[in-house]
Symmetry: C2
Subunit: 246 residues, 2 copies
DNA sequence: AAGTGGTCTAGACCACAAC
DNA sequence: TTGTGGTCTAGACCACTTT
């Protein structure tokens, strides 16, 4: 990073730092210059450097750790999720990519809430399994997912948790159907939740694509409510209505 | 807003201000207390108040105007856009709601770029119309939209610009088809662009739902590329795959 | 002229991490 | 102990809006 004649302001310094990261191709392990060092280098107050770094952090360019310093964030090209209503989420990814992982992080059995009961056409209070999973691609977590499904359809669900692959895997084995069916889908953009930030280790101001679906089978009717929170810088949703273009 | 014994920090002050707005049901025209006034009131430095207001601004709770002050932002419940591949965007909204408006803000005729050419299966450089429109509901702009379509399909397009309703309106009149067809759709979450912020007068950190579609007709093949940037706090995307649930 | 938000300086203290 | 980021104080100057 070079010094200059005129003292730059916060935005200019942020641009310089961003350029410095890009030009030197710095990765997640390269420590960036400290606030004090840059303040001295640019002949400005430390608060100006803090504002510059805050700007970069809000854009997802860097992250900071108290006592350690600032570090660059490597941006990757987003995955394209090609949605089909007759196949599960994990199945689409694992079909094409071997670097895909779906990991169960926690589960519990509890009564269904009113909003969920409406969506799944259940009586309020019915016990449902709630699964939280994270999805990784190339070792990086790109999504946090929440599955809700009534216990009555899978009373023996817990036996599958040791070697968990996906909800659809379990359902397919249990009900012997060849493909799940997505009945409806709802998509919103949102600010990441505390959980999202924790599991995906992401910047606060990177938006989340939140996709919520209801799945059914001919035997059971509606049986699963699935919500995925995916990082917008790592994930895009696609859908084709004509079969001819693949 | 009440004072307190212990001097609160920035986050606590932000919470107090948010509560104050909600409890007094303040609208866009009610000026909030100035930085200096709050600094005095809470016995903290003006910079702490600035941090608190910055936090609220980033959450879309308030906005500020230099020389005037801070003002609350009224949050509205998001519109649910019920997508169908056989009907246009405007048509879905205007069918149910009379408060819906689609306004042409600018247009130009220019050569197609390579990326667009691929999407629309056109030779590079082919002249295309580019329309920028804004969509209002109840007087508030919730989306900025970009249409791209080849001039060859609508050589007389400009005559429609004085009394513009929607691209589909023009196409339906011209080609006499009863419904447009959406071939593919791609959805991402994103940070608002400068244009988005300008037209929708929105906070920087409210995510955008960006939906991009290709439309075709039997007569022409692919003929329109349509992109909508919609505020996530005012817009949600929905889709049903089963006809029975309406 | 007075009040507002926007930006910056200079300096202090804290909690945490590394040595 | 030293260096790091996180938070806060106190005060200055600017550009813009209102009175």
């Amino acid at each position: 990073m070079e010094e200059n004649k005129k003292t730059p302001n916060a935005v200019e310094i942020a641009t310089r730092i961003r350029k410095y990261i890009r030009q030197n191709n710095l990765g997640e392990n390269s420590k960036l210059p400290s606030e004090n060092k840059l303040a001295e280098m640019f002949h400005v107050d430390r608060n100006v450097i803090r504002a510059a770094y805050a700007h970069l952090r809000s854009q997802g360019d860097v992250y900071s750790v108290k006592g350690k310093g600032y570090f660059p964030i490597k941006k990757t090209r987003p995955l394209i999720y090609q949605h089909r209503s007759d196949i599960g989420f994990s199945e689409i990814f694992s079909k094409n990519r071997s670097e895909y992982e779906n990991v169960l992080v926690s589960w519990r059995l509890s009564p269904v809430t009113e909003a969920e009961a409406n969506r799944l056409h259940l009586p309020v209070g019915e016990p449902v399994y709630r699964l939280k999973t994270i999805r990784r691609m190339d070792g990086k977590v790109f999504a946090v997912c929440y599955s809700t499904l009534p216990q009555k359809f899978v009373p023996d669900m817990e036996q599958y948790f040791d070697e968990y692959k996906s909800v659809n895997e379990i359902l397919m084995e249990k009900y012997g159907y060849s493909h799940p069916v997505c009945d409806s889908i709802s998509i919103v953009a949102a600010v990441p939740s505390v959980d999202d930030i924790k599991y995906m280790q992401m910047a606060e101001h990177i938006p989340i694509l939140s996709i919520s679906c209801c799945f059914s089978t001919p035997q059971t009717g509606l049986l699963e409510h699935f919500v995925i929170h995916a990082r917008s810088d790592m994930f895009a949703f696609n859908m084709n209505f004509k079969q001819e273009e693949n």
